[in-house]
Symmetry: C2
Subunit: 140 residues, 2 copies
Amino acid sequence: MRDDPTHLAEQVAVVLRHLVFLLRRYSAGQPLTSQQYGVLGSLEHGPRRMTALAEDHAVQLPTMTVQINRLEDAGLVARGTDPADARVRTVELTAEGRERLQNVRRSRIANLTRELAALTEDERATLAAALPVLAKLGRS
Amino acid sequence: MRDDPTHLAEQVAVVLRHLVFLLRRYSAGQPLTSQQYGVLGSLEHGPRRMTALAEDHAVQLPTMTVQINRLEDAGLVARGTDPADARVRTVELTAEGRERLQNVRRSRIANLTRELAALTEDERATLAAALPVLAKLGRS
DNA sequence: CACGGAATATTAGACAAGCTAAGTTAGTTG
DNA sequence: CAACTAACTTAGCTTGTCTAATATTCCGTG
């Protein structure tokens, strides 16, 4: 009964709700929304096309168009074109976008680090061991 | 270095993003939104007042008013009044609301259970051990 | 090479979820 | 009792998402 998947599932469901809640609290009051930071993150390693961004974030293309419009208005990304295919629009970080991304990432990591530092070493080890398992969920 | 909080924080951040993503995918296409199910869940153990619901879900009162309006229109909750204080509106599940909540919960648990069943017993144990630690995050 | 279909993106229009500010009604207190 | 406070609701805004419709470009076939 200790490792009954259904029983475990109920506990996981509770914890997941807690975590979602936490994340929402973390990102309240930031200059950009978490979705927008997510998009910036996708551009970290170079330009991407609209379709790729939409797939990355599991949204429809028009949704991504709206997001990129706003980020472009804010000067954080720039649109370009693919020389090989004029239908394709590319998107890349501006210098300011890159800076913003780094700042936010640092602040997020710092927050999390503070929370993790409050745990015991055993707890951190337990958590670290579970991360690969959590990462596996949903990949099936 | 293995248990350096900053390093761990980076990994946790990645996994959390993954989990949020997962949850969003789970709740796509359901008849109600996950927020609405969340509200139904808060009513499971009896009537609550608007302020209490808003606090539960960390939203402002007007947001909760809108949610309850929709759930009331859908026949899933009913508003009442507090006999001791006429300013207070209470909200409780209707029979249909309770049924809907149970259905969704069953289906969610079933989904999660299926995913967990695909793991090895060791992985489930690792996950189970980490749940209390995850639940501790953000409580500080 | 012209034409039709496929691919890429944007625009338009809808809805949910959140916010703040302002309004209403009902208790509470000097 | 008048003024203040508390509990909600309403109104109006922004963001994020969707689908449907449109524009533009590419490609394959006759």
